[in-house]
């Protein structure tokens, strides 16, 4: 795979290193002269000096044949522009953008730049996962496919406690895919009885979260 990484900060540099170790071809583009000189010693010909929002810089790095463009500069406008141009002008199939300010996430979405990764959001998600008082954890969101996987801890007062899976009338577009009980997970059968304290994993169409929360953690605090 040929990957172009834009921005040689901590993220860009480490990504480049990892991808090279895995045997991929990488070009790392950096627009600050002093930063470029520092990375050039390590990355040699894989490092390029230039402003990757300039089309000729992208073309010089061979964007036409890139399988992946990753924009991880500290500037959201630059990351949006690089990805938009990579996707729409050079028809690069895979792009990944870093969101520095989570308030800009909507702009990335509006411009069709997915996935857009924000460290703040990732840490928030980890907090959701680590802090059990939140009833609902987002495990995976496939935004384009409009599907998610969530985890819900079954509360004592849930209407589904003591009920067989086959008898739980979940909304269309949702399915229990796994139950975690006493530290082990299993795929439920129709006669599996849900217990308080179970963690149920559900796959669902976007937008069904609230309805499902009512089944398993009616008084939880979805985030």
């Amino acid at each position: 795979m040929y990957a172009i990484i834009v921005g040689a900060g901590k993220v860009g540099r480490n990504l480049a290193r990892e991808l090279i170790v895995k045997g991929h071809e990488v070009t790392l583009i950096e627009s600050s002269r002093s930063c470029y000189l520092a990375i050039e010693e390590e990355f040699e010909h894989a490092a390029q000096y230039g402003d990757a929002t300039e089309l000729w810089v992208l073309e010089r790095s061979g964007i036409q044949r890139a399988d992946l463009v990753v924009a991880v500069t500290g500037d959201d406008e630059d990351n949006m522009l690089v990805c938009q141009v990579a996707k729409e002008k050079y028809l690069c199939e895979r792009i990944i953008a870093r969101v520095n300010n989570p308030r800009n996430h909507d702009h990335f979405r509006m411009l069709g730049i997915q996935p857009a990764v924000s460290a703040t959001d990732l840490i928030l998600r980890l907090i959701e996962h680590e802090v059990p008082r939140y009833g609902l954890v987002h495990l995976l969101a496939l935004e384009e496919e409009r599907l998610e996987i969530i985890e819900l801890e079954v509360s004592e007062d849930a209407p589904t406690v003591g009920v067989k899976v086959a008898e739980i009338a979940l909304p269309d577009g949702s399915l229990i895919i796994s139950v975690l009980r006493n530290g082990t997970g299993f795929v439920p059968k129709p006669d599996t009885v849900i217990e308080a304290g179970d963690e149920v994993l559900l796959v669902l169409d976007t937008g069904l979260e609230e309805a499902l929360t009512a089944f398993f953690a009616p008084n939880g605090q979805p985030v």
């Binding site: 929002t53 089309l55 959201d76 406008e77 509006m110 411009l111």
Partner: protein
């Protein structure tokens, strides 16, 4: 017409003043509060006395755009100092707020050209400078 100008540098402030003088309603958004001085410079009355609006904020913040009146803007001019900022905020104005006429100042002729072809109206001062030099030298553009 209601004209919203983002970026009160030399270009933005000059266009703001002439648009106001021409009788348009003009709102200016800039991240730097001191940029307001450019709107007053050389005028007989202050920008606000002349009924101009000025908002401090960055154009990527939707709240700042709304405060500056983007929801009723007929024209949106992106004239900050950054090409990429101008290209992104112009698309926000066009796609999110459906502003009818959106113009972006883009120094780099290559980016101005491509985004222009995608339906965004771009103005490239660099391109104009190149053409004027070429015509002064009586060279046919390449």
């Amino acid at each position: 017409m209601f004209v919203l100008i983002v970026g009160a540098g030399r270009v933005g402030s000059a266009v703001a003043k002439s648009a106001l003088a021409a009788g348009h309603e003009v709102s200016v958004l800039d991240a730097d509060p001191l940029s307001h001085e450019r709107l007053d410079a050389g005028q007989s009355e202050s920008w606000e006395d002349a009924e101009g609006q000025f908002t401090v904020g960055t154009a990527l913040e939707v709240e700042a755009l709304v405060q500056a009146g983007i929801e009723r803007a007929d024209v949106f001019i992106a004239s900050t100092g950054g090409d990429n900022t101008n290209l992104i905020i112009a698309q926000i104005a066009q796609k999110r707020f459906d502003v009818e006429k959106v113009l972006a100042r883009v120094m780099d002729p290559a980016r101005a050209g491509w985004y222009g072809a995608q339906g965004l109206q771009t103005i490239s001062p660099t391109r104009h400078a190149i053409e004027m030099f070429e015509s002064a030298l009586e060279i046919q553009p390449a």
